[in-house]
């Protein structure tokens, strides 16, 4: 059996409410919240970035996995906010975890699906018997231009998953990937904020790939939506994943545990992985879970997991996603948020 041996997430404590962003830019808060189904989002502290978020998520994954960190043979981090243009995030994380130097490390980028990309490769490494355990992390401190619709959603957080053949808590039943060249969202080298194609990000991008991957993996695995206990879809806003789920034939209650975007925001590469982590937090042995990511550019990775008995033994060893979302958030006003996110031009 190959699957997830340990999982863990991390979300910063800072938040900004959608109301405060809307008021800053002369938008009606109620219209924005109703349109995007977003209430607030996480904000990274001034000393947090993709590397520090990855470390904390990885530590939580290790707490749930009964393994020696040194047994991890591969470490992959997917993000679109790696702190360095040239110098890997993964080496820092591996040093903190104490798993260097006998480890294969790579940083991945594919907009919001870089996290599941890392998961796909980690799973493949274990399946190919190249390593005993492989860790995959999806984490971001997402960027959104001031005043842009993305500013209501772009948030910070991430999740880590350790894949292996022993002590599995969620078996990988099937995988499927779907990708085309679609210019729906991008950020050029050196540009501070991403740009997007507005309404073009919907039907030809998000829905085409999510539905394409979702329908294909259901067909490939010969399973129907009603066979699943839960499903998680990438969450660029509140509406898109609900709509995608409905179009694939899933009911709202199947999506609810992983639909954390209204209070977390879109953690980009950490979005669907953290929704999946929140779902594992409450899943029961035998439950089937569908996970479908989406990354602009564009593509989707789909996974089907079956939860094992072992999950009951390990899930309380680390903080759960809902606990992180509800633990005394520290709310920022727009000025503090702009300072935290480096949106204010300072003297050298």
């Amino acid at each position: 059996m190959i699957g997830i041996v340990g999982y863990g997430s991390y979300l910063p404590r800072f938040r900004i409410r959608a109301d405060d962003i809307a008021r800053q830019w002369g938008r009606d808060p109620e219209t924005v919240k109703r349109g995007l189904l977003l209430k607030e989002k996480t904000v990274p502290g001034p000393d947090e970035d993709t590397i520090t978020i990855s470390v904390e998520a990885a530590r939580n994954a290790l707490k749930r996995a009964d393994i020696e960190p040194g047994e991890i043979g591969s470490l992959y981090i997917g993000s679109e906010s790696h702190p360095y243009a040239v110098k890997p995030s993964g080496t820092v994380v591996a040093e903190v975890l104490g798993i260097t130097p006998e480890v294969h490390i790579a940083d991945y980028e594919f907009a919001c699906k870089a996290g599941t990309e890392a998961m796909f490769v980690a799973y493949s490494q274990v399946k190919a018997e190249l390593v005993k355990y492989a860790m995959a992390i999806g984490a971001d401190t997402s960027q959104g231009a001031p005043g842009d619709a993305l500013e209501f959603s772009a948030s910070a957080g991430g999740s880590a998953f350790i894949f292996g053949r022993e002590k599995v808590i969620a078996e990988v039943i099937d995988t499927y990937s779907y990708a085309t060249d679609t210019a729906d969202f991008w950020r050029r080298e050196g540009a501070f904020y991403p740009l997007h194609g507005g309404r073009f990000t919907g039907a030809p991008a998000y829905f085409k790939h999510i539905l394409g991957a979702g329908r294909a993996i259901l067909k490939k695995s010969n399973l129907k939506p009603e066979d699943f206990k839960y499903a998680v879809f990438h969450m660029p806003n509140g509406k898109f994943p609900l709509s995608a789920g409905k179009r694939l034939g899933f009911k709202r209650e199947q999506l609810e545990p992983g639909w954390i975007v209204p209070t977390m925001g879109n953690t980009y590469s950490g979005s669907s992985p953290t929704g999946f982590s929140a779902t594992l937090d409450i899943a029961k042995p035998g439950d089937l879970i569908l996970l479908v990511s989406f990354g602009s550019g564009a593509g989707s990775d789909a996974f089907i997991f079956k939860v094992t008995e072992r999950i009951e033994q390990v899930r309380d060893r680390a903080q759960k996603v809902q606990e992180m979302l509800s633990r005394e958030p520290i709310y920022l006003d727009y000025g503090q948020y702009a300072k935290f996110r480096g949106k204010i031009i300072m003297n050298e």
Partner: protein
């Protein structure tokens, strides 16, 4: 910080690795070449706990340039479970939240970037439990 020194100090800054004297059993952090208690020169590596409590603290209102945007912030002396004391920033809280004896957890955070083009220095900080 020069990058060779930063790289050499990774074990202590990233993983809280300390030296335990094989002669008297005392722990030195940061690791030392000679035990300050017995003069011993033989050590074993040990990793310190990520749990501790605040021994004392202060609030920084006039900060070095790299931290000027974070004022007011707190610096504390934290005693880890092994009895080792470290000086560290306490983050994700207001200065008035701190108190002597309050439990803290050690987390991995960015210390500061070296200007706009230099390396990013990482290390340990504390958060209230």
């Amino acid at each position: 910080m020069p990058t060779p020194r930063y790289t050499r100090e990774i074990p202590q800054r990233y993983r809280l690795e300390a030296n335990k004297c094989k002669n008297c059993g005392r722990i030195s952090f940061p690791p030392r070449q000679i035990c300050p208690h017995c003069g011993g020169r033989n050590f074993e590596r040990t990793r310190l706990s990520d749990q501790g409590k605040i021994v004392t603290f202060t609030t920084i209102r006039v900060a070095p340039t790299q931290y000027s945007s974070q004022v007011p912030y707190s610096i504390a002396i934290v005693e880890l479970n092994e009895g080792v004391r470290i000086t560290t920033q306490v983050v994700d809280c207001k200065p008035e939240d701190l108190g002597v004896g309050k439990p803290v957890k050690i987390v991995f955070r960015k210390m500061y970037p070296e200007g706009k083009t230099g390396i990013i220095c990482y290390g340990y900080k504390a958060v209230l439990v």
